[in-house]
């Protein structure tokens, strides 16, 4: 399907190229590009009944693919494109089921690895067999740049999920940190499962050790920044289970001593202000009296106003 779109865009691109050459050619070429998909099937119905009419627009587009040879993409590139498409689909197929709870790193790293390898092949500057480079023809010969955009979306997803932190170099396996975390997580979850039925206080007591271990491990990993979305998500879920579902958070217990200490503290300023009000000697200010001309000293503003 992607190759199809590419051919179509190639056709349009040629229109653009031609249009810069001459006006008359442009007119005919654009007519060919735009009108033919609509008109040709009708013609096909009349002339060649072999082809099922109108139901096969692919065919009508394929008719267009008879561009001069140097503009056509080579067989090698076509092959690369096909492989890219397959692996792309495989990766996306893997991603979607791993969306909730998030397991995108642990389950799909290998398919991402192969996808990346194919894309590297496409985007490499080195010439393939037959001295062709598919970089220009596949990645940036049109405005849509479909292959590039498709891949960069997934690449963005990958980098935002920080999966690199949990996968060894070369997409071989999960890192040992990740594996250790998963093991600890499993331990905690098994514990949760074991005590889930009965009283939750039981659970809180018995699973506290393993939960605490897990929490500490997570804290350490957070500091080393060896985290990926899988770890974050599973930890979030576990924490939610622990605090919300099982209600194992620390309760607010010592309200009385806190209130006592704070009311004592709040009481101090009152004593302070009262005592300074009662005992401190009041400071008085002396006023500076103006020296005025004799005749005016008796005349106050108030007098003058009235």
């Amino acid at each position: 399907m992607s190759s199809l779109v590419l051919v179509a865009t190639l056709a349009l691109k040629i229109c653009a190229v031609v249009s810069s050459d001459g006006l008359i050619l442009t007119a005919s070429a654009s007519a060919g590009g735009q009108v033919s998909p609509l008109s040709l099937p009708a013609a096909a119905v009349l002339n060649a009944p072999v082809y099922p009419a109108a139901t096969e627009p692919i065919f009508s587009l394929n008719l267009l693919s008879s561009f001069p040879e140097d503009l056509e993409i080579s067989g090698y590139c076509n092959e690369l494109l096909r492989v890219f498409g397959e692996r792309y689909v495989a990766y996306v197929n893997c991603l979607v089921p791993a969306a909730r709870p998030v397991k995108v790193c642990q389950s799909c790293f290998s398919s991402y690895g192969s996808l990346q390898a194919t894309y590297l092949n496409i985007s490499t500057d080195q010439m393939g067999p037959g001295n062709v480079s598919c970089k220009d023809s596949l990645l940036r010969s049109d405005r849509l740049m479909l292959v590039y955009v498709l891949y960069s979306n997934l690449e963005d997803l990958w980098s935002r999920s920080d999966c690199d932190n949990c996968i060894t170099k070369g997409f071989q396996s999960l890192t040992s940190d990740m594996l250790y975390f998963l093991a600890t997580l499993n331990q905690t979850l098994t514990c949760f499962e074991k005590y889930q039925q009965g009283n939750h206080t039981e659970l809180c007591k018995n699973c506290k050790a393993s939960y605490k271990d897990l929490n500490e491990l997570y804290g350490r990993m957070e500091k080393n920044s060896t985290m990926c979305i899988d770890i974050e998500d599973s930890m979030n879920m576990t924490r939610r289970l622990w605090s919300k579902n099982f209600n194992c958070s620390v309760p607010r217990e010592e309200t009385v001593p806190v209130i006592a200490v704070s009311s004592f503290m709040l009481f101090l300023p009152i004593i302070f202000y009262l005592s300074s009000f009662l005992h401190s000697e009041q400071k008085k200010r002396k006023l500076i009296h103006p020296k005025r001309a004799k005749s005016y000293t008796s005349l106050n503003i108030q007098d003058k106003l009235s």
Partner: protein, 736 residues
């Protein structure tokens, strides 16, 4: 009230104090004879010495002078930036350590119990820092208390407040502000930074420090007039805001060159700050890192505001004005109480300690009892999130407001995602922080009111935003912050620019302006701005922009002081010494007249004006007529000798004059200012006022139609008139 005798008096027993004030001599001469508020001499003394020097100065020399002024401005900017950088880094480091310790402690005790111990630890840590800050302020340099902006405002207005621009003040101020911010008080560091910038500026342009006993010979560059520019520096990033601040807040006298130079100094200071911060953050050479006051940029859709929102903003401005007025009134009564009863240094330190402890307690209690738990953003900036009793993975959102330096809290109120605060949390926070900030301002610690006001405003502004539901709360937090700050300090021009600069959004220029205008109008209806209140309470003869309205019927004759102590053109040394040593008058400028008999009422013809400082220098160098005749080789006194004594002239007591010398004569002709400003006695008060404000006068001689001295107008004579509720009122200035 400090100075309206007719209404409120200092004492609780009004009449008695009034009577006492009249009875006692104005000064107990022995104690602090020269701690009167003095005015600054901005006026050039165009005496013969000055003219001679000007004649000697070549064209080239004049050019050099101009260039060296620029260099000095750059230096001022550089040093200020350095200080700002120092304060910033030290506060960040120390506060980081404190919060880390408390956080670990709280985490430890949340599980095993004993959180009251964490509370005590927090309070003790706060107290320890605040104690250091309060002790150095209360015992070593009381003038360094508060934000320093009122003092700088007075200084720019032309009033010399003793010790306000000393190096010692600078050191105490810097250490004090670090201590009080780290100590968790509801304070900011911007006001003190402005003050320290002013000290640096004044210090550099004077080029000397008595504390260090050094003289760098810079003062030649600046006459009195020119070192003002310098004073105008501003804190950190607010480069444009700083320039406008000095324009708005003070500066009696202004010209284009000055503005340009201040701008230059501010830019240099910002550059320095960024440069050193970039080194500190290991990003050498990255000079665009945001500076000191920076609340982060509003990005994306949140920037947009709609036409229908403008009335809402204006309403918020009105609320800010009301709350600001309430803040000011409360702080006013508190300050009066403090002046009356809490005036001993040890009491002041104790009060500061109590405030620190209570602040910690209240914050802790708020955090402890808060049920508002929120998960953190993926790109959160909280450095010390507290979980406490929240579910794992969630954090106490009251703690993001309280358990942080105020500046960071402001930033999180502006920028945290919608939904990261409960309305209840914000309401409680506003309420407590309002009273805490009000209580804190005016303590004997160096601390500014900028950031706390912004924080209060941001909290209730965000609350408004949440209640409006459709809007982005961060935008409303910004408007609330502007409204609250405007309501408290009542600045308009510079605040608009500072707010726009601090958030980096020019889009908000108009709404912020409207908000600030509304806040000022509403607030002014009730009470003055906080800085003005404090200036008034310190009984400073502050001259506002305009003379009080409806004062045109007052003439110079009614305003002036009379009779005037004058000196003769050739005066006996004994008379001069006696006049200068008379502690009950302590005058500073003396009109020089043709023939004058001391203590006679008869006026005499004016020929010039001479200042106390000049007389003291003359006495010190013994420039007596008799001596000049006997010792012909004696070096002629130059302007340099006067400048060397600047800015701290020795008191008259330190000058020894023998009995023989008392009989000598002194010729003042050469040294006096032969053309002092004078006004006829029928001049109206606004006219006199304008002269003072525009020319930076200190003395204005009132003469009659025969040019005979009949009175003298000083700043104190003008500042006592003010427009009250019942028309024009005359205030009594208290002595401090």
């Amino acid at each position: 009230m400090a100075n309206i005798t007719k209404k409120v008096s200092w004492s609780s027993r009004a009449d008695e104090s009034g009577a006492a004030g009249e009875g006692t001599p104005l000064l107990n001469g022995s104690e602090q004879p020269r701690l009167f508020r003095q005015s600054l001499d901005y006026d050039n003394i165009e005496n013969q010495l000055f003219l001679e020097e000007e004649r000697r100065l070549s064209h080239m020399g004049f050019r050099c002078l101009e260039i060296s002024r620029w260099v000095v401005c750059g230096l001022i900017g550089f040093l200020t930036g350095l200080i700002a950088c120092f304060i910033d880094i030290v506060v960040e480091k120390l506060a980081g350590i404190k919060y880390q310790v408390v956080k670990e402690n709280i985490e430890k005790f949340t599980e095993v119990g004993g959180l009251s111990i964490s509370l005590i630890l927090w309070a003790l840590l706060n107290c320890a820092f605040v104690m250091v800050g309060a002790i150095i302020v209360a015992f070593f340099e009381p003038i360094a208390a508060g934000s320093g902006i009122p003092q700088i405002k007075c200084y720019l207005n032309g009033i010399k407040i003793p010790r306000v621009v000393r190096l010692k003040t600078l050191v105490v101020k810097v250490c004090g502000v670090i201590c009080s911010v780290v100590g968790g008080l509801a304070v900011g560091k911007e006001g003190p930074m402005i003050h320290s910038g002013a000290v640096v500026a004044a210090g550099v342009s004077q080029g000397r420090s008595t504390s260090l006993k050094r003289d760098f010979k810079v003062s030649v560059l600046f006459n009195h007039y020119a070192f003002m520019p310098a004073t105008a520096r501003a804190g950190g990033t607010m480069f444009l805001g700083g320039v406008l601040f000095s324009l708005e807040e003070g500066a009696s006298f202004w010209n284009q060159m000055l503005t340009w130079r201040i701008f230059f100094a501010s830019m240099i200071s910002t550059f320095t700050l960024n440069f050193f911060l970039s080194i500190y953050n290991n990003k050498l050479g990255q000079l665009s890192s945001p500076g000191l006051i920076n609340f982060g940029r509003f990005e994306g859709d949140t920037v947009a505001y709609n036409l229908y929102e403008i009335p809402l903003f204006i309403a918020m401005g009105a609320v800010g004005g009301l709350l600001g007025a309430l803040f000011n009134v409360l702080n006013y009564w508190l300050t009066i109480f403090r002046i009356r009863y809490v005036h001993r240094p040890c009491l002041q330190v104790m009060e500061a300690l109590l405030v620190a402890a209570v602040t910690a307690t209240v914050s802790f209690t708020m955090i402890y009892f808060s049920n508002d738990c929120q998960p953190l953003d993926p790109d959160h900036t909280e450095e010390y999130p507290l979980q406490l009793f929240c579910a794992d993975g969630e954090y106490n959102s009251m703690a993001t407001a309280f358990f942080n330096t105020p500046e960071r809290s402001v930033r999180s109120l502006f920028h945290n995602q919608p939904g990261s605060y409960n309305p209840l949390t914000l309401g409680l926070f506003t309420l407590t922080y309002f009273f805490l900030a009000c209580w804190t301002y005016g303590l004997a610690v160096s601390a500014g009111v900028f950031i706390p006001s912004l924080l209060i405003g941001a909290a209730w502004g965000r609350l408004c935003g949440i209640l409006l539901t459709w809007a982005d709360p961060g935008k409303y937090a910004l408007m609330g912050a502007a409204a609250q700050l405007g309501g408290i300090v009542r600045m308009t021009l510079s605040l608009t620019v500072i707010m726009v600069e601090a958030t980096g959004n020019v889009t908000y220029g108009l709404p912020i302006m409207l908000v600030l205008m509304t806040a000022k109008i509403v607030g002014d209806y009730f009470v003055e701005g906080l800085y003005d209140i404090h200036i008034k309470l310190q009984s400073v003869p502050f001259l506002h922009w305009e003379a009080p309205a409806t004062s045109h019927w007052l003439t110079a004759r009614e305003v002036m002081s009379s009779p005037v102590t004058c000196l003769n053109r050739v005066e006996k040394v004994g008379t001069i010494v006696d006049t200068l040593s008379n502690t009950s008058t302590n005058h500073n400028g003396f009109p020089v007249v043709a023939i004058f008999v001391l203590f006679s009422i008869q006026p005499a013809k004016l020929c010039g004006l001479i200042l106390r400082s000049q007389l003291i220098v003359l006495l010190k160098h013994k420039v007596f007529v008799e001596l000049a005749r006997s010792r012909l080789t004696q070096r002629k006194l130059q302007l340099k000798d006067f400048r060397d004594a600047y800015p701290r002239f020795p008191p008259i007591q330190s000058i020894h004059v023998s009995q023989d010398e008392r009989e000598c004569m002194m010729d003042l002709t050469e040294f006096m200012n032969p053309t002092p400003y004078t006004v006829p006695q029928e001049t109206s008060l606004p006219r006199v006022f304008k002269l003072f404000r525009a020319l930076g006068l200190r003395h204005l001689v009132v003469v009659d139609d025969e040019n005979k001295v009949i009175g003298l107008v000083t700043r104190k004579d003008l500042a006592r008139y003010h427009l009250g509720k019942h028309g024009l009122e005359e205030l009594q200035l208290a002595q401090t």
